[in-house]
């Protein structure tokens, strides 16, 4: 499903409440604009609606409403944002999921808070590794986001630097893009052979088909571990020097990363231990609560 083909002018015509509409990005299945609503900055996201191909493996929501996978995912993303209130997860804006036809395309759109800041991927490219204090803050904030998701039995499944932003105003990190959120209470939206998420940031259990239905928040902790490792050393432990997808998967399943302090000597032992523990291949060897991880990070 491609992203919708629409312009800032098309968006501005939807409602006079939408001011200063500017194109931001087009990727995956969404086209995204920034805008102001009643003077407050927001982003507005559009996605194409497709007819549901009725068939097996559809969730209860999909079956009930005849929704496509894309629409179902958007509904899940929005319901997740509606149920959670933490500064470490992006918030829904004033416009909930709304259908519209633009240029003959059947679309859905909704708004989110606009975060004034930079995404971690850009930050790491521009500045290199984070300071120890920034790494602690990053770990605590994203662990808080994971904890909030788990309280409603949801897993993000796509934690990576591109989905994390550093807020300019507060200096805190925020987790974006709940588009791949996994709901333990519903049937999988993902067709069987596909692995959701981003290569190099998957947990081992995300890559093993038999384990995918029994994922829990510790899968997100593993992805956070990759992000913390990368933010500490500027190296992704599983994609580094890989020639192809198979090597990355093999590394994720089998490679035990070096201690980060061997790459950057100022990393304290306690941070080494935390990073390596949440990168354990077995979920039961990670932390069994986000608060435990946060306490360990704070004590560094």
């Amino acid at each position: 499903m491609p992203a919708p083909q629409i312009s800032a002018e098309d968006v501005a015509r939807i409602s006079p409440d939408l001011q200063n509409v500017q194109f931001l990005a087009q990727g995956g299945q969404k086209t995204v604009f920034s805008c102001e609503i009643e003077g407050e900055p927001h982003v507005i996201k559009f996605l194409l609606v497709e007819e549901s191909a009725s068939g097996n493996g559809q969730s209860a929501t999909q079956v009930a409403y005849g929704l496509s996978e894309v629409t179902s995912r958007a509904l899940r993303e929005i319901s997740t944002m509606e149920q959670i209130d933490t500064p470490t997860l992006v918030k829904l804006g004033p416009i909930r999921l709304t259908p519209i036809v633009i240029n003959g395309q059947q679309l859905l759109y909704y708004t989110e808070e606009k975060i004034n800041g930079k995404d971690l991927k850009t930050l790491l490219n521009e500045r290199g590794a984070l300071t120890i204090d920034e790494i602690k803050c990053l770990g605590c904030d994203i662990a808080t986001a994971i904890d909030n998701l788990w309280q409603i039995k949801r897993i993000h499944r796509d934690i990576k630097p591109g989905n994390i932003m550093l807020r300019n105003d507060t200096g805190r990190f925020v987790l974006l893009d709940m588009g791949l959120v996994f709901d333990l209470g519903d049937i999988s939206l993902t067709p069987t052979p596909y692995i959701m998420g981003t290569l190099g940031y998957h947990s081992p259990e995300q890559l093993i088909y038999e384990a995918r239905r029994s994922l829990d928040f510790r899968s997100d902790l593993f992805s956070l571990g990759v992000v913390l490792y990368e933010s500490s050393t500027s190296i992704n432990p599983f994609t580094c020097n890989c020639r192809n997808r198979e090597e990355i998967i093999s590394n994720t399943l089998r490679l035990n990363p070096r201690r980060p302090s061997l790459i950057r000597s100022e990393i304290p032992d306690s941070l080494d231990e935390i990073a390596l523990r949440i990168l354990s291949k077995q979920p039961h060897l990670r932390y069994n609560s986000c608060s435990e991880l946060i306490n360990r990070l704070r004590s560094i």
Binding site: S214, Q282, H284, N288
Partner: protein, 398 residues
């Protein structure tokens, strides 16, 4: 808090004496061996007398599905009845079992609630799923109770796992993933041993996996882990994080077999034994006689206050070594052993434990040049323990 009396029939005043001399810190009560009225009186009375002790009540729910069980006093408990596994297919029945078992425990003066459970014969099996369902329902009911009862004792999830299951555990990691995020205070673990004859020997594979299980729950995931029926091997379990072990006076209270709950034929009285801290095992008084004659008795003596009786006789087997003294001495030996191998990091604890095993092996080797031990009192367990610890250390890289 390291050694709890694994209570059974014939407790006399052993528990009171053990509590008084500090050789035990708690009791795991057994409904099989007490009528409900006595249980009520004992749990309240002992707790009043020893307020700092830890009292647990093992509901022995696993016997409800045991065919041909010798139910003894169990049938007088309100939560206990003979059940079939199909009973648990109905979630309402499951809920009833949990509520009755936990509600009964709330009438006692105990410090932890133990969930009902059935034996896990293999991870991922139907019985394993029933066990996990009972655990999850217990957690749910405990949470419900905690909203109205602020003094509610913490909940420990009971797990009864067969030794065979630990020897070759398929689906072990998945099982660990499931239990390691259970919102309970901890776990009460029992290993159902294959051999009904008491022995310190333990299949190295099973022991390695048991060490890993305790380590994952206690050390990595910060649960309180209490290992019932553990005896000498419990020393090893404490090095990797177990908070306490249970052990009793009879051999069937020192290692767990279902035979304890089945009709039995009369057995001859057990030959008196002496628990040697240095050998990490119990040996027969007859064997002590030989060691004494060879002038090596000091190499195996534990140094407890109870040892004094052996100084006054020509042969150790002539010493007034009654069951009660033997038990109190045994608890004290375990208390000292466990204290020696705990308190540091797991790595340090294991180093100390390996040193003690090595020392025990040296003593055994020395004695073996002059005599032979029987199959249960010899040194076979030491090599198995060493192998299990080494493999465990490689596995978790410590």
């Amino acid at each position: 808090m390291t050694v709890y009396a694994q209570a059974g029939w014939g407790k006399s005043d052993k528990i009171i004496r053990g509590m008084s001399d500090g050789s035990i810190d708690g009791v795991i009560w057994s409904p099989k061996d007490e009528f409900p009225h006595s249980m009520h009186v004992d749990t309240h009375g002992y707790k009043t007398r020893f307020p700092n002790s830890i009292m647990l009540f093992d509901p022995q729910f696993y016997t409800t599905v045991l065919a041909g069980t010798k139910d003894h006093r169990l049938q007088h408990y309100p939560y206990w009845r003979t059940l079939t596994r199909s009973y648990f297919n109905d979630s309402a029945n499951l809920r009833t079992s949990v509520q009755e078992t936990l509600d009964y425990q709330l009438t006692l003066n105990i410090d932890r609630l133990l969930s009902p459970s059935i034996e896990i014969d293999s991870f991922g099996s139907a019985d394993c799923n029933i066990s996990l369902s009972l655990a999850n329902e217990s957690i749910r009911y405990h949470q419900e109770l905690s909203s109205t009862n602020l003094a509610l004792p913490p909940l420990l999830i009971s797990l009864i796992i067969s030794e065979a299951c630990l020897s070759s555990p398929s689906n072990f990691n998945s099982f660990l993933d499931d239990i390691s995020i259970m919102p309970s205070a901890g776990f009460y673990l029992i290993v159902h041993r294959d051999d009904s004859q008491y022995q310190a020997r333990f299949d190295p594979n099973a022991l390695e996996n048991l060490l890993y299980l305790v380590y994952v729950l206690a050390e990595i995931n910060s649960y309180e882990v209490i290992c019932g029926y553990s005896d000498f091997v419990g020393t090893l379990l404490c090095t990797v994080g177990a908070k306490a072990i249970g052990t009793g006076w009879f051999s069937n209270l020192r290692q767990f077999t279902m035979g304890r709950f089945l009709p039995s034929t009369p057995k001859r009285q057990a030959r008196p034994r002496y628990s040697s801290q240095l050998l990490m095992n119990s040996i027969l008084l007859d064997e002590m006689d030989i060691i004494h004659r060879r002038g090596q008795l000091n190499s195996i003596m534990s140094g407890t206050t109870y040892d004094a009786v052996f100084n006054t006789v020509a042969n150790p087997s002539n010493a007034p070594w009654a069951m009660d003294e033997s038990t109190l001495h045994h608890w004290l030996v375990l208390q000292v052993l466990i204290t020696s191998v705990t308190g540091g990091t797991v790595q340090n604890n294991l180093n100390i434990c390996m040193g003690m095993i090595s020392n025990a092996q040296t003593i055994y080797n020395n004695l073996s040049r002059m005599m032979s031990f029987n199959v249960y009192t010899g040194d076979h367990h030491l090599q198995q323990w060493e192998t299990a610890i080494s493999n465990f250390r490689n596995r978790v890289n410590i």
